[in-house]
């Protein structure tokens, strides 16, 4: 037999419910403990908390006393959402609500509201032994509902944070794991690279040693070659001049060829010696002030006989009065200028029939001051250069152009422009070339730094 309600018993129940709400942070634990306490103390057969989301959807149903898990239709239970008071089946007059409650086998429906939002419903079934819900029961439920709503809301928030934390921890663990795997892969690649780097370093050291040996050999061989070659050339010259007796026309022709080949060989040896010195860093510059007027006079004097022979005009543009002197090694800069004018002479000839006949061409030497440098240009009206050949021009042993250019350059070594570039760069200058194409002439320009006067 159920004990009748007494103020003491009501207080005891409310106290127990308050303890449960204060001590349970986990939603499931909170709801089930509240239900159990309510059902056992109020002697109710079954009950369920239907938790609703902000969007009015069922979030979770937690129940006690049901044989089978109760199912609530979202659309049906919406009818309870706007009810401010606790609904008791026996006291209802609205037949629609009564029908829904009958369908749900619910005797009491309590709305759970916080101040800000609707949290859900507490749906309670029949009381044991066919008893009715007393005013005390309803009073307890009225007192409980706002407190339970806040407690459930807190527990839900806690649950969401907990779930979020778990998800976050899982994501961090996954990302850390992926990062570690990536680290391991990068490390393995780095190990391979380090091994490769070590091997390359060793190979590079070997190459450096070999390169040094090659330079030494080249320097020695070239030096040793030059002396006998010069002697051979001198003796050939003497024979050609008839100092060893009369020379027939045929002999003179053969000797001329030998003499020219010897000259070419000496030029090649000299160029190779220059390259060897440049590449091994053994070249030294005898720096000083270079007066361009004197430089041009020397170069023109040296080049004029050959230009006259080829009927090519050498024109020197008037030097601007303000043009300053440049800083450099006089002999080396002169070598560069002679090389460029020599090339211009070579490529301003015109091939015709069996040999070369001079074509009246022109070579112009000009100067301009630009950005702390003096730029010297040698421009010819010769065969020109294809655009695609221009980048190759300053490489070692490269002779560009078609058969015409190659035929004009039989005496070339393919080292001249490489040497020019190296010398100019040693001076801190640049060298470049422009040509509009085949038959449109060529213009080589190099720059040298201006002499800086002490301030």
């Amino acid at each position: 037999m159920a004990q009748p309600w007494s103020p003491h018993k009501v207080q005891g129940l409310l106290y127990n419910l308050a303890i449960i709400m204060a001590s349970s942070l986990y939603l499931e634990d909170l709801v089930h403990r509240l239900l159990k306490e309510l059902l056992s103390t109020m002697r109710i057969t079954r009950g369920a908390f239907v938790l609703i989301t902000e969007m009015g959807k069922i979030y979770e149903v937690m129940h006690e006393g049901y044989v089978l898990a109760p199912e609530f239709d979202e659309k049906e239970i919406k009818i309870f959402f706007d009810q401010k008071k606790t609904l008791v089946f026996e006291k209802l007059t609205d037949s629609h609500i009564k029908n829904v409650m009958r369908k749900l086998d619910a005797n009491v429906v309590v709305n759970l509201h916080t101040e800000a939002e609707f949290v859900g419903l507490l749906i309670l079934g029949k009381k044991q032994a066919g008893a009715f819900y007393s005013p005390y029961d309803l009073q307890v439920l009225d007192i409980l509902s706002p407190e339970a709503a806040v407690a459930i809301q807190n527990a839900r928030s806690f649950e969401e944070i907990r779930r979020f934390n778990i998800t976050l921890e899982e994501k961090i663990a996954k990302a850390t794991d992926e990062l570690r795997k990536a680290n391991v892969e990068v490390y393995k690649k780095n190990v391979e690279l380090a091994k490769l780097g070590k091997r390359l370093g060793e190979a590079n050291d070997k190459l450096k040693t070999l390169d040094k040996l090659k330079d030494e050999f080249l320097s020695l061989a070239s030096h040793e070659l030059r002396t006998p070659m010069t002697a051979i050339k001198a003796y050939l010259w003497m024979v050609l001049r008839g100092q060893g007796g009369k020379v027939t026309g045929k002999q003179a022709s053969y000797l001329n060829r030998a003499y020219n080949s010897t000259s070419h060989l000496i030029t090649l040896v000299n160029d190779m010696l220059d390259v060897s010195r440049i590449e091994s860093g053994r070249i030294t510059l005898n720096l000083g002030e270079i007066k361009l007027v004197q430089l041009i006079d020397d170069v023109v004097a040296e080049i004029t006989p050959r230009a006259t022979e080829l009927e090519i005009e050498i024109a020197v543009m008037p030097l601007p009065s303000s043009l300053p002197s440049v800083m450099g090694d006089y002999d080396k800069i002169k070598e560069v200028l002679i090389n460029l004018v020599g090339n211009a002479l070579k490529f301003t000839q015109h091939q015709s029939g069996a040999g070369f006949t001079p074509k009246k061409g022109k070579i112009t030497i000009s100067f301009r001051q630009n950005d702390g440098m003096v730029e010297t240009s040698v421009t010819d009206t010769g065969v020109g250069i294809k655009k695609e050949d221009i980048p190759k021009l300053f490489q070692k042993f490269i002779m560009v152009g078609g058969s015409e250019q190659k035929a004009l350059n039989t005496q070339g070594t393919g080292l001249g422009l490489y040497i020019c570039k190296s010398i100019i760069e040693l001076h801190g200058g640049k060298i470049w070339v422009k040509s509009e194409g085949i038959g449109k002439g060529t213009s080589f320009t190099f720059s040298c730094p201006i002499v800086k006067l002490p301030s």
């Binding site: 570690r180 680290n183 391991v184 490390y187 393995k188 780095n190 190990v191 380090a194 780097g197």
Partner: protein, 92 residues
């Protein structure tokens, strides 16, 4: 120089060729290992065998087994100087 300090130095140096300054950063996290890297001075305070093992584990945690192999390679030349009962786990 203490053989364990030599081992630590060789390991850090070898790791440095692969992962750069990270090698030193990780080594500095090992308790008992005092490093003055510009001078290549390494001092071990405490159980030296354990410190070396922790140094290797530090790299292994981040870079896996490949880093242990690199540590082994780094000390291959001086392994014979380590007393058998003091041999770090990764070298056994």
């Amino acid at each position: 120089m203490d053989i364990f300090a030599k081992i630590a130095e060789k390991i850090i140096k070898e790791q440095e060729t692969i992962i750069g300054p990270v090698a030193l950063e990780q080594a500095k996290k090992v308790a008992g290992l005092k490093i003055d890297w510009p001078k290549h001075v390494v001092v071990l305070e405490g159980d030296k065998k354990e410190i070396i093992e922790k140094l290797v584990e530090q790299y292994e945690y981040l870079f896996g087994q490949a880093s242990v192999e690199v540590c082994k390679d780094a000390v291959r030349g001086i392994i014979s100087k380590i007393p058998q009962d003091q041999m770090p786990q990764f070298l056994q």
